[in-house]
Amino acid sequence: MRAFDFATASTVSDALKLARPGSAFLAGGTTLVDLMKLDVMTPDRVIDVNALPLKGIKLRDGALHIGAMERMGDVAAHPVVTSVHPMISRALLLSASGQLRNMASIGGNLMQRTRCDYFRDVTSACNKRLPGSGCPALTGINRGHAILGTSDSCVATHASDVAVAFVALEAQVVLRSSDGDRTVPLEDFYRLPGSTPERENVLGPGELITEVVVPTLSWARHSTYLKIRDRQSYEFALTSVAAAISLKRGVVQDVRLAAGGVGTKPWRLRAVEEALKGGVAMERTFSDAVESAVDGARPLAHNAFKPSLLKRSIVRALLDAAGVR
């Protein structure tokens, strides 16, 4: 850890004023402090945003509004969330541990960094941490890495679970800077690594996430978040699938699908959604439809199983969401 300035902001405008290139906002600190201890993140100023009024979980104008400083645990347990979007609650409850969820914020969750072990080890090269230094994961240990949206510069997954649910539900993030507010679909908030893996999202320097807005979905009750991992709890996903399905007399009317653990960002599966519409909700339909999920997939030496696992995970999630066997 390096020496840094510490400042506390009590209003959003204070926070924006205190921000400068090289500064970092501190929410729950479960990513930031962890990575500062490892010298992976080396902000020269840390701005505590815990006192900012970015709280509240409300249903307004047909959308669920979640303040960026709401804690993961509080969001997961909130009755509006569990009734309007149980998938969000489930994705959160399958994330991290109870202790972490009590500290970690929704804004911080969306901004968490990849779990690539090379990224976390400053003695190794890493294009995301040190642009241009190389990507040891391409030829090194890469069982947990991405197969979709990868580039020759970086193959790291985006690790958030709830972001996958948000992307499936077409959530938007509200961003505030000294230039005012803007709203960006979460799916577009994240960038693909391309040749600049160090730029993970469209957030400007010193810009704050203030809120996540999730449109309601009348059929969101028929949804699930499935997380597949080696350990039953307290681990990031090998694959995860957020699925919501609308059925009429056993026929798929509409469906939402997004995957985690496989993409360099939360991965919406539009082609699979299209292939499912109009089909009879049964395992055969689902397994026929999932082929396109892995279009363009680039498996690596140790994660060659991920395309197959992803397809199987989608089928399983659809069976759960549709309540069919």
């Binding site: 779990r115 080890d121 003695t123 190794s124 240990i141 597949i228 039953q232 197959s308 696992l309």
Partner: protein, 714 residues
């Protein structure tokens, strides 16, 4: 008192945080040492620029191979590093200690360490196992007759990955000198191991080295050796005239404080059509980290498990540029049993014989490789009782035959055995005027329950409540008792506690008849009886506390020694059988353990509660070995997942209810107490039982640990 559920005597101070662990030691004026480690896997250090670190705030000293603290060569092999740190410029592994920064605060030391730049002449590290053909350093063969062919043959290879102990408490040492006397608070599986090592490497008379290690937060073999922070903290403290505290980071623990080596076993077996083994050959290969000397005799479990007229095992060592491989719970046997227990299951299936029946048909009534009788062996009872309680007879004959919803269900079993022995131990028991007793020896309690074993056995022998006995462990000034390793603590120290507790009764009676203030003064010692904490003679009874008070004596004590067991006539082992149920998801392949039963034959069980916990803990660790744990090494020779988020140990959700039964047949030869070891027995066979259950559930045989879902997707 022996053989019941007794709460741990150290339980309360541990759960309330009052138990002092090494890193908790507070000494006024303490300084902090931080290790600098190599960032390449092999080569020579050509230069280290320490100017910025030395100029950094609070820094007291920076030691490097260019400015080392003198440490003499290690003499005693402790399964740890081959050479003391900083004495040479060769890099043997990634993460090797190459510098030690001492500063007023831990943060200052760490920050200064980050300012040191090191240049290397690099060489490509040797990391591949077992793909590349490497120089064979060593080959051991044990031959019992030549291999003859039976009707049926079977051959397969099994591999296991690197694993780490992951004790909760990281390695920590605090050293302070008073003139030429050293006091060191450190993690350790035996205070005398530390004393001996420090005496060698510091060039100090061992009597001037006082080692304190009263509580240890898990060891599993990883704290048997004395890793770099131990000599460095002590030597720096001597050089600076200030106390020094050094705690390894988790990443450093992974890199330099030992790991379970990678192994491969190729097993060939022949047998008759009715399943009687005619030969077993196990060619074992083990890695050895070039940081150390130690490697596993991974195939040796095959020598003593099943009856066969011909058994041959070999050992080939693959040296790699890694830190020292070291002992980890059931070294050799945890990995060895995975292969043989899988192979027995495979052969049984090939023959259409039930796996339990297969093991009974090859039951070793004599030690297979020596032909000697066992001191005691009730493994057949473990199999039968386990099968009965588990409901083994209802097991489907076919694989992939049982389905519960989306889960494929299978069951598996395996044999557990682990060597038993009794070393020499001395224990002191002291009685106090307030009616309490203390029991002391250099032994260690790593969370095993050794404190409570001391208290129970002394209380039993003295006839007083456990609460009135104060066990004192982890202090090098106590009489020399067993270190915590090789499942040896209770079987070695237990009899010594009994001897000492009996001897102190004799001392008490001597006092009673010789002290002029004693009401028993002048009586014939033979007329005095000690019972339940009191001495009596001719109608007069007095508790030892009252007697000591009456005599105005501060205490009586005795040191009892129980000798090493020397018995060339018998084989000694603990035995057990594991039965488990595993579920595998039909679509996504995750294997989950859902039911467990272990039946153990480990002689006398002193504390059934702690013993059950030992077996349960070992089974949990075995579930990790079977399904989760693997440290990965890439071409740079670093352990890439050297942290507790990426190296997966089981969490509660991975662990089902674990039922444990003890047969409780005292071993008549190991000691009067009759206790054999249980610390390691529980993990032996676990991975095999799980692999067998996974096969039964899915029809897929996984021969490479860990059994992760990608291997089961089909």
């Amino acid at each position: 008192m022996i053989g019941h559920d007794v709460d741990r005597v150290d339980g309360r101070i541990k759960v309330t945080g009052a138990a002092p662990y090494a890193a908790d030691t507070k000494i006024p004026g303490v300084t902090y040492g931080y290790l600098v480690t190599s960032t390449v896997g092999r080569g020579q250090i050509t230069g280290m620029d320490t100017a910025a670190a030395l100029a950094s705030p609070g820094v007291l000293a920076v030691y490097t191979p260019f400015n080392p603290l003198k440490l003499f060569a290690y003499v005693q092999e402790q399964n740890d590093e081959r050479l003391p740190p900083l004495q040479d410029k060769e890099i043997r592994f990634f993460g090797q200690a190459i510098g030690f920064v001492v500063a007023e605060t831990w943060e200052q030391a760490r920050d200064a360490a980050g300012l040191i730049t090191t240049t290397y002449q690099q060489q490509p590290p040797i990391t591949e196992f077992p793909g590349r053909t490497l120089q064979k350093f060593d080959e051991v063969e044990e031959v019992v007759g030549a291999q003859t062919l039976g009707d049926i043959t079977f051959t397969a290879s099994y591999t296991t990955p690197f694993q780490h102990h992951c004790a909760m408490e990281p390695h920590a040492t605090v050293a302070t000198w008073n003139n030429d006397h050293l006091t060191v608070y450190t993690v350790s599986q035996g205070a005398l191991l530390v004393q001996r090592r420090l005496s060698e490497t510091l060039g100090v008379d061992p009597v001037k080295i006082h080692v304190l290690s009263p509580h240890v937060g898990g060891g599993f073999g990883g704290k048997w050796g004395n890793w770099a922070q131990v000599p460095l903290a002590c030597a720096a403290s001597r050089a600076l005239g200030r106390p020094v505290k050094a705690v390894l980071t988790r990443e450093q623990v992974f890199a330099m404080a030992g790991h379970r080596p990678m192994t491969r076993q190729t097993i060939s077996m022949t047998c008759t059509a009715d399943g009687k083994l005619t030969s077993i050959v196990n060619d074992g290969v083990t890695s050895r980290g070039l940081g150390g000397n130690w490697s596993e005799s991974v195939a040796n479990w095959t020598l003593t498990t099943y009856a066969s007229p011909n058994i041959r095992v070999t050992k080939t060592i693959m040296p790699l540029n890694l830190g020292a491989a070291t002992v980890m719970r059931a070294p050799g046997e945890a990995n060895g049993s995975f292969a043989l227990e899988s192979a027995m299951d495979e052969l049984a299936e090939q023959l259409g014989i039930d796996p339990v029946e297969m093991r009974l048909r090859n039951y070793a009534t004599l030690v297979p490789n020596t032909g000697k009788p066992w001191s005691s062996k009730h493994l057949d009872e473990c199999y039968r009782r386990g099968a009965e309680e588990f409901g083994w007879s209802r097991r489907a004959k076919q694989v992939r035959a049982t389905v519960d919803g989306d889960w494929l269900v299978g069951t598996g079993m395996a044999t557990a055995t682990y060597g038993a022995s009794r070393g020499q131990a001395s224990i002191k028991v002291r009685l106090y005027p307030n009616g309490t007793a203390s029991v002391s020896g250099t032994a260690a309690d790593l969370g095993t329950g050794q404190y409570t074993v001391f208290a129970i056995l002394a209380a039993d022998e003295l006839g007083i409540p456990v609460a009135r006995v104060r066990p004192e462990l982890g202090d090098s000034t106590s009489p020399a008792a067993a270190n915590a390793g090789g499942s040896n603590s209770t079987c070695t120290n237990g009899p010594a506690v009994q001897v000492a507790a009996r001897s102190v009764q004799t001392e008490l009676i001597t006092l009673a008849v010789t002290n002029p203030r004693s009401p028993f003064h002048g009586k014939d010692p033979a007329s005095i009886v000690y019972r339940d904490g009191s001495v009596s003679s001719g109608g007069l009874t007095m508790s030892f506390g009252t007697l000591l008070t009456t005599c105005d004596v501060g205490g009586v004590e005795a040191i009892g020694t129980s000798p090493r067991l020397v018995d060339p006539e018998h084989g000694y082992r603990s035995f057990g059988a594991h039965f488990c149920e595993v579920r595998v998801h039909r679509l996504t392949g995750e294997p989950r353990v859902t039911r467990w039963l272990s039946v153990c034959d480990a002689g006398t069980i002193v504390n059934t509660k702690a013993a059950r916990s030992q077996i349960q803990g070992a089974v949990v660790m075995g579930i990790g070995q079977a399904l989760l744990e693997a440290t990965e090494v890439d071409a740079s020779a670093r352990f890439t997942n050297a942290n507790l988020a990426s190296y997966l140990v089981p969490v509660h959700a991975d662990v089902p209810r674990i039922d444990v039964r003890f047969l409780d047949h005292p071993d008549p030869l190991v000691s009067g107490l009759g206790a054999k070891g249980i610390g390691e027995l529980g993990i032996v066979g676990v991975a095999g039982a799980i692999a067998n259950a996974v096969h039964h559930a899915t029809g897929v045989r996984v021969r490479d640990l860990p059994i992760t879902l990608d291997k089961l997707l089909g």
